[in-house]
């Protein structure tokens, strides 16, 4: 990162190659389509490039990077709502994966698994469990306190536990139905 700030293109290319996949997955996990995730990734790197002087050597890179990515995502979300003027449609869209997941009884899709969670809970779970960030790093990235991150993770786990238990029960029920037949 320090080399990137000094204008080293190779360092920038290495950073882009190493960090883009996890940023892309972060956007996908927020229920973005692949095309949207591509756009958000590009926009995030442009924003990172513009404010790269705000990174201070010695500080952790991931929270800085994700804080910017979050802002880009929020801006994109607001813009899309205003552009289409169909806020209700967006809310409906966010419920689609949850319905599909419950209906199919399978949790094979990561986005579908996280769909019942709120935006804040979802991003905390992705940061902690998928990207392997610490509570402190997730708190920095979300501009909140460690206590708030813990609370969101706790709520998310409660919801996930309920969803998974319901899925298991319905799966077991289906298997018993098959056996009876």
């Amino acid at each position: 990162m320090a080399h990137y700030q000094q204008g080293d293109f190779n360092a920038a290319a290495v950073l882009i190659a190493q960090l883009s996949p996890q940023l892309h997955r972060f956007f996908l996990a927020q229920l973005a389509s692949r095309a949207d995730a591509d756009d958000l990734l590009q926009e995030t790197w442009l924003r990172i490039h513009k404010v790269r002087h705000t990174y201070r050597p010695g500080e952790p890179v991931l929270p800085w990077l994700y804080a910017i990515a979050r802002r880009v995502r929020v801006d994109h979300y607001r813009r899309s709502i205003r552009t289409t003027g169909r806020q209700q449609a967006m809310e409906d869209m966010s419920e689609i994966p949850a319905t599909v997941s419950a209906g199919s009884g399978r949790l094979d899709d990561f986005s579908a698994l996280l769909a019942p969670l709120s935006d804040g809970e979802r991003e905390v779970i992705v940061m902690l469990k998928v990207e392997g960030m610490s509570l402190e790093e997730a708190a920095r990235a979300t501009s909140s306190t460690v206590g708030s991150v813990k609370q969101k993770a706790h709520r998310a786990y409660k919801k996930l536990r309920e969803t998974m238990s319901a899925t298991r029960r319905s799966g077991r029920g289906t298997a018993e139905d098959c056996r009876e037949r």
Binding site: W45, T54, D75, R79
Partner: protein, 241 residues
């Protein structure tokens, strides 16, 4: 279902390393290549926070120098020590909070809203402890004049603070505006304490302290309006494209 089982399911469904198309990465690299030049990182937090405290002190002193140091002249040593040390410490803490709001990924101990409540509460406690004159003569006329004077001096403080941190990037502009407004309000309050010689408890507790939350609210509103304007600009660009 145990937490460990949920962890396993999350890891399993997230899959292995996410692979991106080479052309996507290439496109990103190309987009920044043309404007890649060395940049100077921001100074440490304590330097920026120190600068903000100096800005507050300079504005308050300049305002009082113009209007007269009647308030501080009438205070005894204990009042001066308690009031101005509280204001300096508050400005330092809020200044650090404002710097953190302007640097992505900074550690946040207290949210700007909570910081505003603490700073206002602390000022109320200090003033309630020191000022025991419970008369309320010319409560509204004198009070509104003080409130407007305090807010008037909060404006240049906010502008100078923004100038000092213009290279920063607020991930949450409304929070940053709230922190900037709180800091500017403290400068306005400092100016009033240096200048105003009305030591009636009700006057100081209501009209002097009110400068801080009102200035904070104005800061948050301005930041919200600017963000709205910026996103409208983005929308127009998107629509044109």
């Amino acid at each position: 279902m145990k937490d460990e089982e949920i962890d396993d399911v999350l890891k399993e469904t997230a899959g292995g390393p996410h692979v991106l198309k080479a052309e996507t990465l290439q496109r990103v690299s190309d987009s920044i290549k043309t404007s890649l030049r060395p940049v100077r990182p921001l100074p440490p937090t304590w330097v920026l926070a120190g600068g903000l405290v100096l800005v507050c002190a300079a504005v308050a002193l300049a305002g009082a120098a113009r209007a007269g140091f009647y308030g501080i002249g009438k205070m005894d040593f204990l009042e001066r020590a308690l009031i101005f040390s509280t204001l300096v410490v508050s400005a330092w803490v809020v200044g650090i909070g404002f710097v953190h709001e302007m640097i992505p990924g900074s550690r946040r101990h207290i949210a700007p809203g909570a910081l505003l409540a603490i700073v206002s509460g602390l000022s109320v406690c200090v003033f309630a402890l020191l000022f025991r004159d419970y008369q309320t003569s010319a409560f509204f006329s004198a009070g509104i004049a003080c409130l407007l004077t305090g807010l008037l001096f909060a404006v240049p403080t906010a502008l100078l603070a923004w100038l000092l941190l213009r290279r920063g990037f607020a991930v949450n502009p409304v929070s940053a505006g709230l922190a900037a407004g709180t800091l500017a309000g403290l400068a306005g309050l400092g100016m009033l304490e240096l200048h105003c010689q009305n030591f009636q408890a009700a006057h100081v507790l209501v009209w002097h302290v009110a400068v801080v939350p009102l200035s904070a609210a104005a800061g948050a509103f301005v930041a919200w309006a600017l963000r709205l304007r910026a996103s409208s600009g983005d929308r127009e660009r998107v629509t044109r494209n």
